[in-house]
Amino acid sequence: MIYREAGEFKASYREDQAILPIRQDRWFMWGLMAVAFLLIPAISSQYWLSTIMLPFLILALAALGLNVLTGYAGQLSLGTGGFMATGAFAAYKLATMFPELHIVVVILLAGLITAGVGIIFGIPSLRIKGFYLAVATLASQFFLIWMFNKFGWFTNYSSSGVISAPPMTVFGDFFVTGPHATAVAKYLFALSLVVFFAIMTKNLVRSNIGREWMAVRDMDIAAEIIGIKMLPTKLKAFAYSSFLCGIAGALWAFVHTGSVEPLAFDVNRSFQILFMVIIGGLGSIMGAFLGSAFIVLLPIFLSNAPHLFGINIAVDLISHIEFMVFGALILFFLIVEPHGLARLWQIAKEKLRLWPFPY
């Protein structure tokens, strides 16, 4: 009744090809942007902003990158943590070697360096497929972490191998890293970058290259037969995905934690991002955000829930129950909707189109 296309006319091809063709969708998206940019910083506590929203956003960006690689291009990869580490360390070296560079430039350059690294480690994908590729990308994961631990040059020869982000500003006195940065500043900075890249990715996957990726995912032999070249297509997927993961890693090190050692990006981080992508829904931009929300928010809620309901349980029991409930919820959501939370969202929208009619 409310959410329908009746009465909307498209007067040009351009309008017809819009990402959000339905007017209500566009209003919803603007509303969401208003909430994200204006409402949330205004009413949220510092805990909410810096411990919940910030990791959610940064990991959603990494999940976006992995979704492009695994969901759209069909290349299962477990090297995400290594690429995030590359982004973080590249950003650190750039920031310390060229202190005059603006932080956005540093982050973008770090992303480009990571894209290069991603291309190198994506070469096996030309020969190996499926779960074999996933385990092979673990080689890149372990190698990159070893490399950052081994060579002191990456950490400017600090005795403990930890990199520490120098305080940097976006403009004027607006610090986004270091002890002077406020939670609101960090949140808005990360939010802007994430929204920008989400829009860019959405456009990319609707374009030629996105269709090539999806063709490779669905049946790569057929894709090759109709003329899609495997080498550039797969390597472009790795490059773009690593670009986003590198930026996420740089943001994590600079804006979220401030000081990071290579083990923060170890294989557990890779698995965490992969879980986000699978739970959120492979091959969907919205899925990256939903998955990130699930994996980041749910454990926090689960460990706070006993306090919320006034039950006093021992801390270790809370942790164990959190694990169990988390595992059970993953199973529940997979059984209810194997294609992820994004599919649930899509079904909800389709039902809403017909409301109040059932079909």
Binding site: I128, G130, V135, A136, S319, F323, G327
Partner: protein
């Protein structure tokens, strides 16, 4: 079991390189000491360690072979079975009874997993099933620790663990590793025979090929899955006992699965002999690399070298040494 010619060539090349590269490294660099007795010590130590990896990889292979599921929860199953065994033992059961009770527990676990997880997700994509096993991992981790606690527990089966000097006192081999290798070898041979020559084994292979086709010729899918997960549980228990005796039964035991993954991709996801041969190659390869190549680049390369080694093999055979050739139809 037919071995292709390719595999034999690759195998011989590997053997040659495994001797030649350390020897060459020893000649080229002063830091690396190459002596034949020491080389054999490292190689044998590596082979024995590789057998221990194969034990864990076996569980993965079994489940992938029969249900097409990459069971991420294998590591958690290793930990859970070891915890249950030690927990029951501490509660007062004698060891032999505790082992039988734990086997029973793993059977119940297999039944529950089949009913709750596998049946609703039948014929879904591989990656969804993979994610489901991750849910199982989280659940088992929390459940195991809730039941038996997070402290480290000792598992002492009386296996001697002193260094033994063989071949006239020149070569050092750990007795514990020898016993573990023997037990693992017996297990692998039993499983290989089981898959090849029994009716249930053939049914398992049919199910691995195609669930729906197997159903249509009358193979009871549900029973097969319970059987295979139960067998994987038994393998997990044996692996848990061996590794638990080595490291103590604690949470980190679940991380052993990461060491078994290169074995899996080298040997092929669907091959039991592949798990053993893959384990031997990875074990020997990574130890030889750590001792003879690593000093040139700083050390600590074991982890990623194993994966790089497996990757190198995959370039020549994308389905692993003994894995089924991946046939893609347009």
């Amino acid at each position: 079991m037919r071995i292709e010619r390719d595999v034999i060539y690759i195998f011989m090349a590997t053997l040659f390189l495994m001797v030649a590269i350390p020897w060459a490294a020893g000649q080229l660099s002063d830091e690396i000491l190459f002596e034949w007795p020491f080389f054999f010590e490292v190689a044998i130590g590596g082979l024995l360690a590789g057998v221990m990896y194969s034990l864990v990889a076996l569980g993965f292979v079994l489940i992938f072979k029969a249900s097409g599921v990459f069971n991420f929860a294998q590591g958690a199953m290793v930990l859970f079975s070891a915890l249950t065994l030690v927990g029951l033992n501490e509660l007062g059961l004698p060891m032999w009874l505790a082992i039988i009770a734990t086997l029973f527990v793993m059977l119940v676990l297999a039944i529950v997993i089949e009913r709750v997880v596998l049946r609703p997700l039948v014929n879904q994509e591989h990656i969804i099933l993979f994610m489901a096993t991750i849910g199982i991992t989280y659940f088992l981790d929390g459940f195991g620790q809730t039941l038996w606690g997070s402290e480290v527990k000792i598992l002492d089966l009386g296996i001697p663990s002193d260094p033994g000097f063989y071949f006239g006192g020149a070569i050092l081999i750990n007795d514990f590793d020898l016993v573990a290798a023997l037990i693992a070898g017996v297990l692998v041979i039993t499983l290989a025979l089981f898959f090849q020559y029994t009716r249930i084994g053939r049914a398992l292979r049919a199910v691995a090929d195609d669930h729906q086709a197997a159903l249509s010729v009358g193979i009871p899918l549900k029973h097969i899955w319970v059987i295979v997960w139960a067998v994987a549980g038994i393998v997990a228990l044996v692996a848990g006992i061996m590794w638990g005796s080595k490291l103590g039964v604690q949470f980190s035991l679940a991380l052993i699965a990461l060491k078994a993954l290169p074995v899996l991709i080298l040997g092929g996801f669907t091959s039991v002999p592949g798990a053993i041969i893959g384990g031997l190659i990875i074990g020997a390869g990574e130890k030889l690399a750590e001792v003879f190549i690593a000093p040139l680049i700083g050390g600590g390369i074991e982890d990623w070298f194993a994966y790089m080694l497996a990757l190198a093999f995959l370039v020549f055979r994308p389905q692993g040494l003994f894995g089924e050739k991946i046939i893609e139809r347009v």
